[in-house]
Amino acid sequence: MSQMDNIVEIKKNIKKCESNITITGIGVLVFGLWDVLKFIIQTAYGSIDIARELSEIELDSEIDPIIVPLITFFFILFVSLIIIVVHCFIGLRAIGYGRGIKRKWGFLFFAGIIAVMTAIGIPDYFVSRDGRFFIDDTVVAAALVDLTLCYILCDMIFSAIGLKIFSSKLEQEQ
């Protein structure tokens, strides 16, 4: 392969990595909405029971009945905001990175954390409230969605590493 062919091949790989990072960034934004929805559904119908948690706190006097739903509401709002902010940060930074607007690596650290946390949480889908193994179609679907998110985040990280490597190679060739 001549030097010109090498440069062409490297530029092609750079473009591919940039495109991957941009697309996975968009994917992370969309999955942010899924994570928020999942959290709300879990709180309303699923494994997170805030009212029960609060009822186990011993207090000196009785509390106003409005407090529990209020705390629940603000808790959901707070956590949802955190989820959205984190996903937006990762997604928008990735899109900027892929388009060459900003080349800062910080978002990859958070992407890695989210990927690990998501991967660790997947087995939990298959455990029912009473601790037994449980599987049905909704559980499998939710697990697959989270696996997809893990894949997207890993693809983002590997593409960013690939971009760095190919960019260095291009500088050497030129």
Binding site: K12, K15, K16, S19
Partner: protein, 372 residues
């Protein structure tokens, strides 16, 4: 390509190839008429609508995109505007469905182009005109396919115009697209119109070079972009060079059709014939304008010393409507229709023989069993 090249430039090429003024007019009229001969027009003059060589925007809006509709669209566009370069192209790790569309990508100097020109040899001046339209479009519309396909005809939004600055250096500037089909392209502001992104693979919006707007039809522009089929390879489209090759190849093809060349070979051009006018032609091609009709017309009238009438789509309509049924074949439009049917049949047959059903079935081959 546009009227400036299909009509006036084809006239110039025909005259340089040795045709006289009236023959050149017949040829260039037929070349431009390929962009006008729609089903709507043909049904208006009560002619065979299967001879349509183009589809109007309104017709496209009503076009079906099931397999029958796709075949109908592909037969027209692949036969006259996006002649496939290699019907037997290969590509690793691609499905059959993808390859059927990949093999319809247009490009110059194809085997089908040779067949197109040879088909016109035994035909009329109208057949010559159709062949010249097809030949010219293989250069302008290269790298796009005449079938609706997102995975082939889509592009990234990264289009960069490459031009030479005052110091003679090649520089780039980003091309901005907008989706306003009613507004003309703004050359000064670098605002061009292209089609909207459509995620549906078979949407008619993904036919041809819509995603690149009118850029392939402007002779002055050199640009780079990333086609969807290119696997992240960028393509540089040098229109001034391509249009010059198209013109020289048209002259060579028409010399062959007049009998002055023994055979029509791929990648052969009549550079010696156009040499005295090359600088003038180059200046016309590189002039930054939406429409080069006036310049080409001036050149053509200088060559022949005769006036070239403006293109009138209804010029031969009355003649066709007035003659009786038996004589319609001898009318100008009758000859055009016959040549168009022959061209469409030939291309559809070749697509079918390659094992690709996007061009539809060819009855004779279906009955005989596909020919080898």
């Amino acid at each position: 390509m546009q009227e400036d090249f299909h009509y006036y430039a084809t006239y110039c090429a025909a005259f340089l190839a040795g045709y006289d003024h009236y023959e050149s007019l017949d040829i260039c009229y037929s070349a431009q008429f390929v962009d006008m001969c729609s089903r709507t027009y043909l049904s208006g003059i009560k002619a065979r609508t299967d001879a349509a060589t183009t589809q109007l925007q309104l017709e496209m809006m009503d076009a079906r995109t099931d397999i029958m509709g796709l075949q109908d669209i592909t037969r027209i566009w692949a036969s006259f505007h996006f002649l496939p370069k290699d019907l037997y192209a290969t590509h690793k790790f691609r499905t059959r469905r993808y390859m059927n569309k990949y093999r319809l990508i247009c490009g110059p100097n194809s085997d089908l182009l040779v067949k197109t020109v040879e088909l016109a040899r035994a035909g009329t001046l109208q057949a010559v005109g159709i062949a010249m339209h097809v030949l010219a479009d293989t250069w302008a519309h290269a790298n796009f396919a005449g079938t609706p396909s997102l995975v082939i005809n889509n592009t990234t939004p990264d289009f960069y115009e490459i031009y030479t600055d005052e110091e003679g250096k090649e520089v780039e500037k980003k091309i901005h697209f907008r989706h306003n089909p009613s507004a003309a392209d703004d050359l000064d502001g670098d605002n061009f119109t292209n089609s909207l992104y459509q995620g549906n693979e078979d949407s008619v919006m993904n036919l041809g070079h819509g995603r690149a707007g009118h850029l392939p039809d402007y002779s002055f522009i050199k640009y780079r972009y990333y086609p969807a089929w290119g696997d992240y390879h960028e393509l540089i489209k040098d229109n001034p060079s391509d249009y010059m090759h198209a013109f020289a190849q048209m002259v060579y093809a028409m010399r062959y059709l007049r009998g002055e060349e023994e055979s029509f070979e791929k990648d052969t051009y009549a550079w010696d014939v156009i040499e005295p006018y090359r600088e003038r032609i180059d200046s016309i091609l590189r002039k930054r304008q939406l429409n080069a009709c006036a310049d080409w017309k001036a050149l053509g009238e200088e060559l022949s010393g005769r006036e070239i009438p403006d293109f009138d789509v209804n010029e031969y309509q009355v003649e066709y409507e007035l003659v009786n049924k038996e004589q319609k074949r001898e009318a100008f439009l009758g000859k055009f229709i016959k040549a168009a049917l022959a061209q469409k049949g030939m291309v559809s047959s070749e697509i079918y023989k390659s094992g690709n059903l996007l061009g539809g079935f060819v009855k004779e081959l279906l009955i005989k069993g596909r020919l080898s």
